[in-house]
Chain length 493, copies 2
């Protein structure tokens, strides 16, 4: 076959894989947003079947042969080259990890999650321990099957953040740790300041405000929607179909609002991938870290600025009436940054959040290489928490049992949250440098210049470059901890 | 293989087919209820891929071999025997109809639908004619591929109503035609009577009332949901997951309400199929006619009775406040039956509805056997309409262009609507005979005795018997036009 028809063959195969993946995506979205409870067990079987179909498409010898030939005489076009590399990465992972291990992991994690939920509710680590041990054992097997250099953690991290490894993470997190603990220690946990306006905020009005904000940032509702779910998320199901969710509480509107801003950031990335190429391997998010950078950028670097609220506070006041009468711009923005040490990651502010991630990264690395036996996790968690936050963890519910990630097999996922924060700050600094005064844009509810910059530098690039290369091309330097530290210090000032 | 493991093999294969079908079902539901407009073209490709996967599972030689062996020494259990028969029916259809024809039909119908919509809007049959001709040609090829006796129409009808054929339909419809035209001629099209209370009926209140009614009838919301769509429908997606829809207009609540009752009837049938067997071939609706009988029974035979409204009118009054102040029980129920000749099928009352079906059945049979060239359809339609209704069709928008069915390739579908009405009346007569006074149940909002009767006689039987055998076992006689005519005459009285 000539190169052209080999590429056609690759694209034809990938189209089928992408169609199956988008169908699996809809099953997942529906499960969290629409599905009635009694549909659960059938849905698990549907999802498992789809996963199996995707795996068998990836494992087909024909795909490997096509990739062999394409690698032997690579095309000139960089997007096609990136597609070949990404297809090989996926195919190689699919071939290396035995089906039996995939199924065993799915089975154990599915059993582990209700056990974890119960253990957390009772703050009883011993209930969860045997499952955690099994999961760690299986994740070690997965790492061994995939193969690794340096540290087994690298094999797992690579699935979420291709090109990143422990050596780079250790360096970044070492740079961050002391400045962050210093920032937190300097803060006086401004407990007098409320975290948000408290009152009665109608859910319908919250929804309208969220939609208005998503639309203003550039989210296209003819190619997307906003729904409600227990945990907010974004699902870029298919070209022309990107769905975001948030959750509402009637006592305050900021949780749902920042949920929308965060997920809109993810959604803008998905909607910014070139639609015509969506079935090609290169045409997807570069990494979870880059994905998170887009959500954090809009949520924190835009949505918590004074100029942003100069535009949105009057709109919020118009929607919620008297509930916001006493809230000046100063009072509201004063709520949005105050560092506040907390035991729980998902309640953390921008500054302390990264310490929560550093803690989890260090522990999961040790769990995976065996230097920390799972039985000693609570003790190790509490010890390290005290070192980072200067606070004594009262129980495992507020400690090592708080997150669902490990129960779901998500080892190697946590660092992408802080990578997202770092990329976001670095992108934003570069954008401000290039675009000049963004504040007057925000004050007028105009976000198009910033979005265009991100479209060009990040969204349209897809996975045709690594996360690090995207960062370098967009900002002129490799990922560094300095822009985020600068951003956090400015908040305090 | 022993019989036992052959059955296991059949069940394993059918489980996969059912999982794929339920996934295709979710794609379809989502397309009509949730999907943003820009997702349309990708969704079509997803649906086509799923259809292809289902077809290739049905066409696998292994399935045929298993069925060969099971047919050679059939199991004793009647449900297993029915499963073998149904699996063979599906497999045989899949093998007989060439893939090329399936794809061509899908392609032409997908092109034809926007053309039909445009032609209807302009009342211009000539626009639609070339597509109609192509579709008729392809449906003839389909009938030839499947094979038939008596009339090519039988090959198409069999997909919707297994066991039914033109000879039986002709006999039933001949019995119906004269009494129905007489009933309609006797009616004075009581134009003075409004079709519904007109006012301002809040959508949220309509939704609450619909949910209350569905719940009262027995629809389980932990295993189902109620949504909004342009055309109301029911999708029994999976065990534990049955979804119904309706549509709302704020000027009146009866359209959404009867939409809910109708779809709840379908939904109760789906929820009444034994959950544990849902992946076995026998465990599905016996036919579209039986399915429609369940919707019509709850909508018309229950939902339009005086006793039903003795319970629901006070609830509706409480929900809608002053808008129903002037509506007594007599006045409201007076609206629900008045025969009213109309050009449009979906606006028809219980009596004239069946004349609309007889018209379409006669025409599509002639289109299919070639005795009516497509170009002469408008003339033939208008002629027959005048014969049945005594009214002159003003234009094709009010005539042969009004329904989407033919543009979608649905030849053979229309008769199942009237079969549903006939089965519904016959079931209801038998239930009333066996259960005694149902009116006092309805007056108290109690529907459990009727539902239990339907569960036992219809729902739990699935497709283990033919529609005709279910009818005979439940009512003591073959399907007849008499119970429906009796019901319609009682309405007039």
């Amino acid at each position: 076959m000539a190169n052209e028809s080999l590429l056609d063959d690759l694209h034809r195969r990938w189209k089928k894989i992408t169609l199956l993946e988008s169908t699996a995506g809809l099953l997942g979205w529906d499960e969290q947003v629409c599905m009635p409870p009694a549909g659960q067990s059938w849905r698990s079987e549907q999802s498992a079947l789809l996963a199996g179909l995707i795996h068998s498409e990836l494992a087909k010898p024909g795909l490997g042969e096509t990739l062999d030939k394409l690698e032997a005489s690579p095309p000139a076009d960089p997007f096609n080259r990136a597609s070949i590399q990404e297809a090989r990465r996926r195919q190689s992972r699919a071939l290396k990890i035995p089906n039996q291990l995939v199924e065993e992991l799915a089975r154990v994690c599915s059993q582990a999650q209700p056990v974890w939920a119960h253990a957390r509710a009772k703050s009883d680590f011993s209930q969860f321990l045997p499952f955690l041990e099994k999961i760690i054992h299986l994740k070690r097997e997965e790492a061994a099957a995939v193969g690794w250099e340096g540290h087994p953690y690298n094999a797992l991290l690579d699935e979420y953040e291709p090109g990143m490894d422990c050596a780079q993470l250790d360096a970044l997190f070492d740079e961050l740790q002391t400045p962050l603990t210093t920032l937190v220690a300097q803060s006086d946990d401004q407990k007098a300041i409320p975290t948000q306006p408290v009152g009665r905020f109608g859910i319908e009005a919250q929804k309208l405000l969220g939609e208005a904000a998503a639309k203003a940032l550039g989210f296209r509702f003819n190619a997307g929607r906003l729904d409600t779910s227990t945990h907010p998320f974004c699902s870029g199901i298919a070209p022309g179909d990107c769905r975001i969710t948030t959750r509402y509480q009637s006592e305050g509107f900021l949780e749902s609002f920042f949920g929308v801003l965060h997920e809109t950031g993810h959604g803008l990335y998905e909607q910014g991938l070139p639609e015509a190429c969506r079935a090609e391997p290169w045409c997807q998010a570069a990494s979870l870290g880059i994905h998170e950078s887009q959500s954090r950028l809009w949520e924190n670097m835009v949505g918590r600025t004074r100029s942003f609220w100069e535009y949105f506070l009057p709109i919020a006041k118009a929607m919620f009436g008297a509930e916001l009468d006493d809230w000046s711009l100063e009072r509201l923005t004063g709520c949005l940054h105050a560092p506040r040490r907390s035991f729980i990651r998902v309640e953390a502010d921008e500054t302390t959040y990264n310490l929560h991630i550093i803690l989890r990264y260090r522990l999961e690395k040790s769990l995976l290489d065996g230097s920390l036996p799972a039985v000693e996790l609570p003790q190790a968690w509490n010890h390290l928490f005290h070192e980072l936050f200067g606070m004594k963890v009262p129980d495992d519910r507020h400690g090592c049992l708080q997150d669902i990630h490990w129960a779901g097999g998500g080892f190697g996922y946590f660092p992408t949250y802080t990578l997202g924060n770092l990329y976001a700050a670095q992108f934003m600094r570069a954008a401000r440098k290039e675009l000049g005064d963004l504040e007057s844009d925000f004050r007028q509810g105009v976000f198009a210049r910033l979005l265009s910059w991100l479209r060009e530098k990040v969204h349209r690039v897809g996975r045709s470059k690594t996360a690090q290369d995207i960062c370098h091309a967009a900002t002129g330097s490799r990922l560094s901890s300095l822009p985020m530290l600068e951003h956090l210090r400015n908040l305090k000032a």
